[in-house]
C-alpha cells in the first residue's frame, strides 16, 4: 500500500481491509469501492439524516458524498477510511443545509415504526421498542427545530464522538463557537422537549 501511512494497519483488521479496498478502487476496481459503500452507507446515512432532517435531501447528500469520495480517491492520504468518508459526508450535509436555507422544506413527518432503522441490540420487549421509537421520534423532531449549526455541533459531538477541535476544523469555526453551539443547542433541545421529558426520564 504505497503512498499510504501504515501506522496501525497491521493492528486493525477493519482498517487493513478498508485500505486494501481503497487501493483497489484507486486502481480502477469499481466493485472494491462499492464494497466500501455497502460497509458504510447505513452509518453514513444515519449521520447525515440527523444533520439534515429530510430523508430525501439526506439521501441526495449521501449519494453526492460517495460521488465525491470516488472522484477524489487520490486525496486519501491514509488513516481511517471511515473518518475520511465521515468528513466528506459532513461537508455534503452542510452544503445541503445551506441549500435548505434558500429552499426550506418540512422536516421528515411522523414516520411508521418500520421505516426507522432498528438499532443493534434492541430489546425484544415490544413495549420497550415502542417507547424507544417514541423517544427517537421526539428527539428527531426536536433536533429538526434547532438551528443547523447547533444540530451539526450536537450530532458531531454527542453522537459521533468528535472532539471540539475536530468539529472546529470540520465546520470552519473557532473552538469557542463550537462549544457555544453545543451547549446552547442542548438547552434548546431541552426547552423544546420540556413537556415530554417524562418520556425520557421514565
Amino acid at each position: 500500500m504505497e503512498g499510504l501511512r501504515s501506522t496501525t494497519v497491521s493492528d486493525d483488521p477493519v482498517q487493513r481491509r478498508d485500505l486494501i479496498l481503497i487501493e483497489r478502487a484507486r486502481a480502477g476496481d469499481l466493485d472494491a469501492f462499492n464494497d466500501l459503500v455497502i460497509l458504510y452507507q447505513d452509518s453514513l446515512f444515519a449521520l447525515v439524516v440527523r444533520m439534515v432532517p429530510d430523508r430525501d435531501q439526506a439521501s441526495d447528500a449521501v449519494q453526492e458524498a460517495f460521488f465525491s469520495a470516488f472522484r477524489n480517491l487520490g486525496s486519501f492520504r491514509g488513516g481511517s477510511v471511515k473518518s475520511w468518508l465521515n468528513r466528506i459526508c459532513v461537508n455534503a450535509a452542510m452544503d445541503t443545509q445551506r441549500l435548505r436555507k434558500r429552499r426550506p422544506v418540512q422536516p421528515y413527518p411522523e414516520l411508521e415504526d418500520e421505516s426507522w432503522q432498528p438499532r443493534a441490540g434492541d430489546e425484544v420487549d415490544p413495549e420497550r421498542i415502542a417507547v424507544h421509537a417514541e423517544r427517537s421520534r421526539a428527539i428527531a423532531a426536536a433536533l429538526s427545530r434547532i438551528t443547523d449549526d447547533q444540530r451539526t455541533a450536537i450530532v458531531l459531538y454527542d453522537v459521533e464522538g468528535y472532539d471540539y477541535a475536530e468539529i472546529a476544523e470540520m465546520t470552519g469555526v473557532s473552538l469557542g463557537t463550537v462549544k457555544s453551539r453545543i451547549h446552547r443547542g442542548r438547552l434548546s433541545l431541552r426547552d423544546i422537549l420540556a413537556e415530554r421529558m417524562e418520556l425520557f426520564r421514565g
Binding site: R50, F67, F70, I139, I182
Partner: protein, 204 residues
C-alpha cells in the same frame, strides 16, 4: 420549593457544559434544585442521542459503471477532466513556469542591457526596416560592422544601427521578447483554463 427567582441568575450554559466529562460542576448545582434538575435532563438527553434510531435509508448508494465513467473518465478525457482538480499535478507547475519565464524574458528585454541581449539574440534575424535605409540605393547599404561601401546611406545605416542611440532607434522586436511574450500568454492561458475547469468540475 425551588427558588425560581434565584435560579434566573444562574448561567444555564455553564450547566450545559458541566454535562461533558471532565468539566467542573457549576457552583449553582450545589444550591439550586432547578439547576440540578436541568443538568439531569440534559444528561438524559445526551445519553439517549447516540442510541436514537434514525429513518431507514431507502436508496442503495452504490455507484454504477456509468457513474464511474462520468466521475473518473479514462484516457484523454480523464486528463482533460483532471485539469484544475486535486489529481492535476501537471498544468499548475507548467503554467507557473511559462508565466515566470515569459515575465523574466520581457523584463530582460526591457532593461537597458537587456536590449543588447535582445539584439544579440537576434543574430541573423532581419531587423525592422528603418526609413534611412529604405530609400538608399541597394548596393550602397551595408550591414553595420561589415566591410563595404561607406556611402552616405551606409554611414546613415551604421549610425542608426547603434544600439545606444535610442532617439533614432526603431523598437527592436527580437526573438527573445517575442518568445517571452508567447510564453507569458501560454502561461496565463493555462491558469485561465485551470480556473474554468475547476469551476466546471464543481458544477458537475
Amino acid at each position: 420549593m425551588a427558588d425560581v427567582n434565584g435560579h434566573r441568575r444562574h448561567d444555564p450554559v455553564s450547566i450545559s457544559a458541566s454535562v461533558d466529562p471532565g468539566v467542573p460542576m457549576a457552583p449553582s448545582l450545589a444550591t439550586c434544585i432547578v439547576c440540578f434538575g436541568l443538568r439531569a435532563d440534559l444528561l438524559v438527553l445526551r445519553s439517549f442521542l447516540p442510541t436514537a434510531t434514525t429513518p431507514r435509508r431507502r436508496r442503495d448508494f452504490r455507484l454504477t459503471i456509468a457513474d464511474a465513467n462520468r466521475l473518473r473518465p479514462r484516457g484523454w478525457r480523464g486528463l482533460v477532466a483532471a485539469i484544475g482538480t486535486t489529481r492535476d499535478g501537471f498544468t499548475r507547475p507548467l503554467a507557473a513556469s511559462f508565466t515566470a519565464l515569459g515575465l523574466a524574458g520581457i523584463l530582460l528585454g526591457a532593461a537597458p542591457g537587456g536590449f543588447v541581449l535582445g539584439t544579440l539574440g537576434a543574430a541573423g534575424a532581419t531587423p525592422v526596416a528603418n526609413p534611412a535605409s529604405i530609400d538608399a540605393p541597394r548596393d550602397s547599404v551595408t550591414v553595420p560592422g561589415g566591410s563595404g561601401d561607406l556611402s552616405w546611406a551606409g554611414r546613415a545605416a551604421a549610425e542608426v544601427a547603434d544600439p545606444m542611440d535610442s532617439a533614432a532607434v526603431t523598437p527592436y522586436t527580437g526573438p527573445l521578447t517575442t518568445l517571452s511574450r508567447a510564453m507569458l500568454a501560454v502561461g496565463t492561458s493555462l491558469f485561465g483554463v485551470r480556473r474554468l475547469a475547476s469551476r466546471a468540475g464543481r458544477m458537475r
